[in-house]
Structures are given as C-alpha cells and as structure tokens.
C-alpha cells in the first residue's frame, strides 16, 4: 500500500459528502425538491470525468513530446477511468431526468431524452469509446501509442463542442441552456448554488476526483507491472 494523504482525504471527503449531502438542508425548488441532492453525486461524476480526461490529455501530449511508453500507459488508464465515470454520470442523469423532466402529460422517457445535452454527452463518450477500440486494433506498440495519443487529443477537443458549447446554443431541459433562467454555464456556482450546498459540492467534487485518480493509479501500476519488459527507464 502506497500510503498517501490524498487517499485518506478522498475517503474523508466522500464520507462527509454522504453524511452532509443527505442531511443538510437544501432549498426546496419546484419539481426537483429533494432530488437536488443529486448535485453531490451526478454532477460530481462529470466534474471528475472532465478532470481525468484533462490529465489523460496532458499525458498524451507528454508522450508525443518525449515518446516515453510510460506516458502512453498513464494516458490510457486515466481515459479509461474518466470514461467509466462518464457512463456513471450519464446513467445517473437518466434516472434523475426520469423523475424530474417527465411531467404528467404522457411523455415517454425516450422522447424526453432526445436532448442536446444528453446527445452531446453520448457522442463525447462514444468518441472516447473509439479511442479504446483504436488502441486495441494495433499490434505495433509504438504505432499504437503514437496514433492513439493523437486521437486522444482529438477526443479531448471534441468534448468542448459536444458537451460544453452545443447544449448551450439550443434549447434544452438541462440546466445551462438558453431559455432556462439558470445562466449560461451548466452550473453557475455563484448564481445557482445556495451557499450551504456549495459547502458540500466542492468537497464532493474533490473527493470523487481523488477516488477516480486512485483507481486510475491502481490500473496504471498493474499495466506497468505487465509491461515491465517494455519500459526501460
């Protein structure tokens, strides 16, 4: 066990998230009511995903600049955990939408889910899915590392139109779209978030991100052990 303060911090923050997240008083908004507490879980998945994808992106650039095989492993595993968190974020969002976006007007969940924000998120995740497919299709290790590093940069850049820009340009039920009065960023911490909720939300983001990083480091260490012969450093 590599002892690190941040692993303990992650645990402490997530315990705090669960306890405070369920018990602290939240503003009672129409339709959402208590489900606003999902902010500490659903939104944090996306935040953690984004941070892990940024780390993966940085390692891909590092690989291209110094061709160290280690950086390729780092980029791949951070992207894998990021994509996993993205899938969790997507499915938790679907559950949340099922109980808040659906009204009593006989809509089906399918019709509600045809949503720019959701489609964008799905496209972004599929682009990352293609990253793993691409990696798997190479037999030559150097070629795989180089091409997939380039593709990873493309995948990261594609996140911006698909989940940050397009959902803001068209109408959407998701907070952050024009027409909803919640302001432009998907989450305007100053305007949308009650001060008490912010006290839980930020620690929650840090806690979930650290857990993601921890799992990613475990995967990296396994990969480094498996490929020990390939790394001559």
């Amino acid at each position: 066990m590599k002892k690190s303060w941040w692993k303990i911090l992650s645990f402490v923050l997530l315990v705090y998230t669960v306890v405070a997240g369920f018990l602290i008083k939240v503003p009672d908004l129409p339709i959402i009511h208590q489900s606003i507490r999902n902010l500490y879980f659903h939104v944090c998945m996306w935040f953690a995903m984004m941070i892990l994808f940024i780390i993966s992106f940085v390692y891909s650039i590092l690989y291209l600049s110094n061709s160290r095989y280690k950086n390729d492993i780092y980029a791949r595993q951070f992207a894998a955990v990021g994509a996993f968190l993205g899938i969790l974020g997507y499915s938790t969002g679907a559950i949340w939408a099922n109980y808040t976006w659906l009204t009593d007007q006989n809509q089906s969940l399918g019709s509600v889910l045809k949503e720019p924000k959701l489609l964008g998120a799905a496209i972004a995740l599929l682009i990352y899915g293609a990253y793993f497919v691409l990696r798997g299709s190479f037999t030559d290790i150097d070629k795989r590392a180089r091409v997939s590093a380039v593709y990873n940069i493309f995948a990261f850049v594609m996140l911006f139109p698909s989940i940050w820009i397009i959902p803001r340009m068209v109408g959407s039920l998701h907070p952050g779209a024009p027409g909803s009065d919640t302001g432009n960023p998907a989450l305007n911490a100053e305007k949308d978030l009650d001060a008490v909720m912010r006290m839980v939300f930020y620690p929650a983001v840090i806690g979930w991100t650290l857990l993601g990083v921890w799992i990613a480091t475990l995967r990296i260490r396994i990969q480094l052990l498996q490929d020990k012969t390939l790394i001559n450093e």
């Binding site: 066990m1 645990f11 315990v15 669960v18 306890v19 857990l211 921890w214 475990l218 052990l225």
Partner: protein, 70 residues
C-alpha cells in the same frame, strides 16, 4: 494460509458491521427512525462507501506487494 486468515478477518469485519446495525440501543434506534428514516439511507450509503474504499485499499496493497516482489 496468511491469505485465508486475512480473508476470514475481512468477512468477520463485514459481518460485524451489519451486527452493529442490529445491536443498537434505544437512542440510536430513535435516531434511525427519525426524520423520514433518512439516516437509514445515510447508513446504507456509508456502508457501501466504506466497503468500496476497503476494496480499493486491498487491491492497492496487493499491487504494492507484487511490485515489491518484482
């Protein structure tokens, strides 16, 4: 052998954690039933979270061991 003992210890810990829930005294019982029983949800989530972290911790330790052997 060491491995088996460790696994048994782990199992006992898991069982103990559920027994704590049964062996509550009156005051915790009252807490658990107050406020729409939300504390029950908190307890469940904390159990899952603790289990999850314990699992990650054990995997981490195992990898460390393999790293040391190599």
């Amino acid at each position: 052998m060491n491995k088996i003992i460790r696994r048994l210890l782990f199992m006992i810990c898991c069982l103990c954690s559920t027994m704590v829930l049964f062996a509550q005294n009156q005051t915790t019982e009252e807490v658990m039933r107050s406020n729409g029983k939300i504390y029950v949800v908190v307890a469940v989530c904390l159990t899952i979270l603790t289990g999850l972290f314990l699992y990650v911790f054990l995997v981490d330790r195992k990898i460390s061991k393999i790293e040391k052997d190599n």
